[in-house]
C-alpha cells in the first residue's frame, strides 16, 4: 500500500486544480484518472468565458497547462487508473484502484460527469463512423460535410457553433421545446446560420459504412422525418460520476450530485468534493477551480491547527 497526504479522484479542471494546490502547499498528492487527463473540459472547443483567456484558448490547451503545472509542483498523476473501492470509515482514508491500494488523510472527489447516452438504433453501429461525442476530437473529419448536434443546452450550442465553421450544413436538434442556453449563444447560432429543430425525438441513425441520415419524430404527432447528414454529435445532459462515492456513504442529492458544505467538505470528515460532480448549480471551469482552492485551503487550515 502506498501512503500520501491527499488523494484526488479525477483529473479534470477541478481535480487538476486540487492536485496542484495540494502539492503547492506541500502535501504529498496522488491524482487518479480513469480516462483522459483534462476530463470533459479537454473537449471544449473554445474557452472564452474563463478569466484571463481573452484570446481564445481550447479546453485541451488549458487542461494541458494544468496537467503540466500539477506535475511540476509535485502532484503524482496516475492516468488510466480507475478507483474501484473506497473506504472512508476510519481516520485514514483508503482508495483501491485496479492496480494498487493507497491511503491518505484526506480525499478530494473530482470525478466530474459523463454525457447521457441516447440508445437509438444505429448508435452503436456507427460509433466512430459518424456518431461522435467529441467535436474537438472528430470535427476535422466533417470538413464541408453535413452535421447534426443533439442537445439542449449551452454546451450543445457551443459545439454547434464550433462545428459550423468546419461543416457545410449544421443543424441543432433539441429534444425539448426550448433550448436552455444564454442569449449570447442563441444569437451566435443565428449568426452562424444554424437551424434549430425543436421538440422532436431522435428515433434512428441510418447509413451504410458511415452515417447517411437520421430519423426524427414529432413528440406528439408520431409523424417522422428523415434528414440527410454525415455526422451526429451527441451533447446531451450530464450525469454525475458518483455511483462509487455514493456506495461509500457520501450523501448525494436527488440527482446524484455530491452534497457539500461551504468548504466543499462532504458529510464525511476530511472527504471533499469539487467540480461538476457536486451539487453546485454553476458548472464552469472557473467554479471547479475555485472549489478546489477552497477545499485544499480547508485542509491547510486543519493541518495548521493540528500542528
Amino acid at each position: 500500500m502506498k501512503r500520501g497526504n491527499i488523494i484526488v479522484i479525477g483529473a479534470g479542471p477541478a481535480g487538476l486544480s486540487a492536485g496542484f494546490y495540494s502539492a503547492y502547499y506541500g502535501f504529498s498528492t496522488m491524482i487518479f484518472e480513469e480516462n483522459i487527463l483534462g476530463g470533459e473540459a479537454a473537449e471544449i472547443p473554445f474557452l472564452d468565458n474563463y478569466p484571463g483567456c481573452n484570446k481564445k484558448i481550447t479546453g485541451k490547451e488549458l487542461t494541458d497547462k494544468m496537467v503540466q503545472q500539477c506535475k511540476e509542483t509535485g502532484g503524482e498523476i496516475h492516468q488510466f487508473e480507475k478507483a474501484v473501492e473506497l473506504d472512508f470509515e476510519g481516520k485514514q482514508k483508503f482508495v483501491k484502484t485496479e492496480k494498487f491500494k493507497y491511503s491518505a488523510e484526506s480525499v478530494i472527489i473530482a470525478s466530474g460527469t459523463h454525457p447521457k447516452v441516447l440508445e437509438v438504433p444505429g448508435k452503436k453501429q456507427f460509433q466512430g463512423r459518424g456518431v461522435s461525442y467529441c467535436a474537438v476530437c472528430d470535427g476535422a473529419f466533417f470538413k464541408n460535410k453535413r452535421v447534426i448536434i443533439v442537445g439542449e443546452d449551452s454546451r450543445a450550442a457551443e459545439v454547434a457553433i464550433y462545428l459550423s465553421d468546419i461543416a457545410s450544413i449544421t443543424k441543432l436538434v433539441c429534444q425539448k421545446d426550448k433550448l436552455c442556453s444564454e442569449k449570447i449563444l442563441i444569437d451566435s447560432l443565428e449568426k452562424h446560420n444554424i437551424e434549430i429543430i425543436k421538440g422532436v425525438e431522435l428515433k434512428e441513425i441510418k447509413g451504410e459504412l458511415n452515417v447517411k441520415s437520421v430519423v426524427l419524430s414529432g413528440k406528439e404527432t408520431e409523424s417522422t422525418k428523415e434528414i440527410e447528414t454525415d455526422g451526429i454529435f451527441f451533447q446531451l445532459e450530464s450525469i454525475p460520476n458518483s455511483q462509487l462515492v455514493g456506495e461509500s456513504g457520501i450523501k448525494l442529492d436527488d440527482n446524484g450530485y455530491i452534497m457539500v458544505d461551504k468548504k466543499n467538505m462532504t458529510n464525511i470528515n476530511n472527504v471533499y468534493a469539487v467540480g461538476d460532480v457536486t451539487e453546485c448549480s454553476v458548472k464552469l471551469v472557473s467554479t471547479a477551480v475555485s472549489q478546489a482552492a477552497v477545499a485544499v485551503m480547508d485542509i491547510v487550515e486543519h493541518n495548521n491547527k493540528s500542528l
Binding site: L37, G38, A42, G128, R129, G130, C134, V136, C137, D138
Partner: protein, 179 residues
C-alpha cells in the same frame, strides 16, 4: 526503443494487408489529444511482442485508407489478420484493454506452426463434440421412421467419431502438457 512502424496509403497493402503476422494499426492525427495519450502505450507494447506488428497511420496525410475503413473518430485502432480487419478499439483506452485485445487476437489467430496446429486440433475436437450430438439425434429420428439399419449405421458412425475425438482430445492434452 519503439518498434511502431509508420504506414501510409501507398504502403498500406504491402505493410498491413500482406503481413504474415497479426497487425494493429493506430489511426491518429497530430492535433488529436487522446491520440497522444495512447501513443506511449503502443510504443511500449511494440517492444514486448515479437509475433505482433504495431503500426500507425496519420489520417491527415493518408485520407484514402481512413475513408476506405469509414474512420470518422480517432484514435481508432484496427486489428488485421491475413489482410482482413478482425477487430477494433475506438478511443483512448488503458494499457490493459489494448494488451487484452492483442492477446485475444493472438490466441484467436496464432502465428507459429505449433499454435496453428493446436488451433486446428481444438476447433476440430470442438466441432466433433458439437456434431456427434446432432448425429445421435438424427439417428433417433431415423429409428422413429422405422429404418433400423440406417439408425444402426448412424449410431456406429457416431460412436466411431466419438472415439476418434477422444483420441484427438488426449493428443491435444499431451501437447498442452508438453508446452
Amino acid at each position: 526503443m519503439s518498434k511502431v512502424i509508420e504506414v501510409t496509403d501507398q504502403n498500406f497493402e504491402q505493410a498491413v494487408l500482406n503481413s504474415d503476422i497479426p497487425i494493429e494499426v493506430d489511426f491518429w492525427a497530430p492535433w488529436c489529444g487522446p491520440c497522444n495519450m495512447v501513443t506511449p502505450i503502443y510504443d511500449k507494447l511494440s517492444e514486448e511482442y515479437e509475433n505482433f506488428k504495431f503500426c500507425k497511420m496519420n489520417v491527415d496525410e493518408n485520407k484514402q485508407t481512413a475513408m476506405k475503413y469509414g474512420i470518422m473518430s480517432i484514435p481508432m485502432q484496427m486489428f488485421f489478420v491475413n489482410g482482413e480487419k478482425v477487430d477494433e478499439i475506438l478511443g483512448a483506452v488503458p494499457e490493459q484493454t489494448i494488451r487484452s485485445k492483442v492477446e485475444e487476437v493472438l490466441n484467436k489467430y496464432p502465428v507459429d506452426e505449433l499454435g496453428k496446429f493446436m488451433k486446428i486440433l481444438t476447433s476440430w475436437t470442438e466441432h466433433n463434440i458439437k456434431y456427434s450430438d446432432n448425429f445421435r439425434k438424427w439417428g433417433e429420428k431415423a429409428e422413429s421412421l422405422g429404418d433400423e439399419a440406417i439408425y444402426n449405421s448412424i449410431l456406429q458412425a457416431a460412436q466411431e467419431m466419438e472415439e476418434s475425438n477422444k483420441r484427438l482430445s488426449q493428443l491435444l492434452n499431451e501437447f498442452l502438457r508438453k508446452i
